[in-house]
Amino acid sequence: MNLLAIDTSNQVMTVTACQDEKALGQIQLNFSKNHSTTLMPAISSLMETIHLKPHDLTRIVVAKGPGSYTGLRIGVTTAKTLAWTLKSELVGVSSLAVVAAQCKFFDGLIIPIFDARRKNVYSGAYKWKKGRFLQVIKDQHIAIKQWLTLLQQMAEPVLFVGEDASLFLEEITEFFSEAAVCKERTINIPNGLSLAQLGMEQQPVEDIHGFLPAYLKLVEAEEKWLETHNDEGKNYVERI
């Protein structure tokens, strides 16, 4: 299996290529949010360096979200276009899981945190158990206080990871000790190898065209509209 993994869900961008279990190379950038100008050049230069042609790829893996809406769309659009035109498999991996899976050393609940503004977070709960990586609570958009209350009730050791976790230090320390917040920089940013590994294990999606980012939140205008209207799964896009 020749796998290409893409993560543009937050400021860090990773592009990783693997041949089965072997990592062939990785480009990781952490300098701008404008992945539009950096993603394709990174893909083509990595592929050229490791002597792979586009059609050699058999699986495309993408961090599907949550994260920055624009970033997610750049990664997902690129990934689904590549998978479709190269007739390769497509796998979407939770962007939160990528960071959580980097904490294999921790025995307890691993809580990746992405800032969702206005004291909200994107988060979920994960666990490494006997060498297997498990999701304990699904990814969601949630108020930090509500999330911390819920996690406290789980009565298990917790580790908050991700660069944004420290933004909520004040809130977290109301519920847990400061030691629960991971300060290890190498673990707090997403690593392309973690994404590639998860993408290797997951089942590919069945419908590449229908594959979408996991925004985990409706657009505000839609939320407001739904307060007074019934959606009924209507199709809003039509061919003209």
Binding site: T37, I43, T70, R73, T77, K80, E222, Y236
Partner: protein, 345 residues
């Protein structure tokens, strides 16, 4: 970079600058082999106008299926293509980025050159499907986002000689339509109502006497809204068809008079009327009438109605010109939401 020489120059063209995802296959800049347009109008109707984040989300849903359908319907396979073209601006940044990301990935995967196309040049080149463009030429671009007069001295050189200072003409149509309780977008319905009414309200013709080619539609919009609100307060109901006719008469008179002046100052062989508002029947009739009287030598070109709105085919047509100019982009192509194709003038 250059164009691989193939017998048929086939371009896959992608457009996603606003609320339509569209992909076309165009042969030699003049022949449409397929033109798939997925419209989001039903979605944005819910909000009374285009919500950019909603538009971007729909583009991701549609983009690859539109590309696949365009290829299937044209009977063209990726290896037959000469290039991929994509709109890079102007438009909504989040929306543009979907077409750009998909076009770049497709171009890289299939080893094809990438041609960046200006959205407004695309609207002009929709006329190329009617008749080959001759230069010098003038274009009036009227849509929900733009109202501008563009002088095209030679192929691929665009100079904006006049534009709106506030609202675009199509934007004024939508705002006025909302006051009359019409659903978005209301241009077509207003055009039909105007046909049935009379210009009884004599709304202002902004900037019509000024010696420049600029437009302004926000004053017209305000007087319309005031007229309706004041009558409502008096408990009167104004005839909606007459309101529509009076509004439309003001818009098309200003557009026609200014365009005519522009073509008198810059003699041209052709006048192209393009953009969503170019579908307006009232505008078409008035332009034809006034030009046949005052500038009968000028050839008027109205692209067919289905090519007036945003579509991939027009991007494919304009891309041939860009390719001839040697204008190609790399994998670092970015969206330019506020781009202007106009040269210094």
């Amino acid at each position: 970079m250059s164009y691989p020489i193939k017998e048929r120059a086939l371009i896959l063209a992608v457009e996603s600058s606003c609320d339509e995802t569209s992909v076309a296959v165009v042969e030699n800049g003049r022949k449409i082999l397929s033109n798939v347009v997925a419209s989001q109008i039903l979605s944005h109707k819910r909000f009374g106008g285009v919500v950019p984040e909603v538009a971007s989300r729909h583009h991701v849903e549609q983009i690859t299926i539109c590309m696949e359908t365009a290829l299937i319907e044209s009977g063209v396979s990726p290896k037959d293509l000469s290039a991929v073209a994509v709109t890079y601006g102007p438009g909504l940044v989040g929306a543009l980025l979907i077409g750009i990301s998909a076009a770049k990935a497709f171009a890289w995967a299939n080893d094809l050159p990438l041609i960046p196309v200006d959205h407004m040049a695309g609207h002009i080149y929709a006329a190329n499907f009617v008749t080959p463009l001759k230069f010098p030429s003038m274009a009036l671009l009227v849509s929900g986002g733009h109202t501008e007069l563009v002088y095209i001295e030679t192929e691929g050189s665009y100079k904006i000689i006049g534009q709106t200072r506030d609202d675009a003409a199509g934007e004024a149509y939508d705002k006025v339509g909302r006051v009359l309780g019409l659903s978005y977008p209301s241009g077509k319905q207003l055009d039909e109502m105007a046909y049935l009414g009379q210009d009884t309200f004599h709304f202002p013709r902004a900037m019509i006497k000024e010696a420049n080619f600029d437009f302004s539609f926000s004053g017209l919009k305000s007087s319309f809204i005031n007229m309706v609100h004041n009558s409502e307060q008096r408990g009167e109901k104004l005839n909606p068809n007459d309101l529509a006719a009076s509004f439309q008469q003001s818009v098309i008179e200003v557009l026609t008079v200014k365009t005519l002046h522009a073509c008198q100052k810059y003699p041209v062989k052709q006048l192209i009327i393009a953009g969503g508002v170019a579908a307006n029947q009232g505008l078409r009739a008035k332009m034809k009438h006034d030009f046949s009287e005052k500038l009968p030598e000028t050839e008027l070109i109205f692209p067919p109605i289905n090519l007036c709105g945003d579509n991939g085919a027009m991007i494919g047509a304009a891309a041939f010109v860009e390719a001839r100019k040697g204008h190609f982009a790399g994998g670092d192509l970015n969206a330019e939401p506020g781009s202007s194709f106009s040269e210094e003038f």
